[in-house]
Symmetry: C3
Subunit: 100 residues, 3 copies
Amino acid sequence: MQTVDLRCVTIIAEAVLERRLIDDVRECGAKGYTITAARGEGSRGRRTSDWEVQNIEIRTIVSPAVADAILERLATNYFHHFAIIAYVQTVGVVRGEKYI
Amino acid sequence: MQTVDLRCVTIIAEAVLERRLIDDVRECGAKGYTITAARGEGSRGRRTSDWEVQNIEIRTIVSPAVADAILERLATNYFHHFAIIAYVQTVGVVRGEKYI
Amino acid sequence: MQTVDLRCVTIIAEAVLERRLIDDVRECGAKGYTITAARGEGSRGRRTSDWEVQNIEIRTIVSPAVADAILERLATNYFHHFAIIAYVQTVGVVRGEKYI
C-alpha cells in the first residue's frame, strides 16, 4: 500500500489554550487536527513545581515545512510562558496528498 | 532491552464505524487494538466542508504485512465514502512475538 | 526548528496499575508523563482469553537510557502477571534538554 512520509506533530498543553493553539496550527498550514483529553504531570522550568492538570493533546499530520512552522510558532508564542510539550514523528500516511 | 521493530497503525474515524473497523482490523490479522476517544476537524475531499465530530482513534501493533493488509482494506472499503485518517509508524515493541 | 531525538515510551495497561506504573516511570528517571484513557482488547498469553477493559495509556519522553530502564523495569515487574503493552518510538522534541 502506497504511503507518503509526512510529519505528525503532537502538542500537549493546558486545555485552556485549545482555541489559540488550533488557530496557530491552522494558520501555519495544517488542514486538520485531532484532539484527545489527557492528564499530565511534569516540571515547569527550574523551580520544579509539579502539576497535574487537565491537558489536551493536539495532533496534526503535515508536511515537513508546516511542521517546522508550527514548532517555530510554538517556540515564539508559548514556550516562555506555558508548560507545553511538542514533538515530531515521521509517519507513513495513506492518501498523503490530502494533508499537504 | 530487546525490542522488535513492528508497525503501529493508527486509524481515526467517526465513532459510528467502530465495530466495522475493529472487525476489519482483526480479519486482517491484528491480535488486539486500543481505542481512545478523539475530536477532530478537517476537510473532507474537495468541497472542504468542515466538520468537528466525535471520533475514535484505533491503534494496533502488527507486522509490516498485516499493516499493509489493513491499509489496503481501508482504501477499498472506506476511503471513498468516509473521512478516515490512517497512518503507520515503526515502533520498537517489547515482547514483540505476541503481536505477530 | 532545532529538535533533539529522544524516545517516547508508551505503556498501555489496566487503569488499576496507574499509580504503580507512574512511580516506576519516575524512579527510572522520567521527568514527566501524560495519561489518556483507553479501551482495549487483546489476547493474554496462549489461552487467548479475550478482554475489553478500562485501560490507561502512559506516555513519557525520555533519553534512550531511561527508556531502556523503563522497559527493563516493566519486564521484571509486570510482564509475567499483567497484560501490558509497551513500545518505543524515536521523536524529535523541541526543548529536548528539559526531558533528560
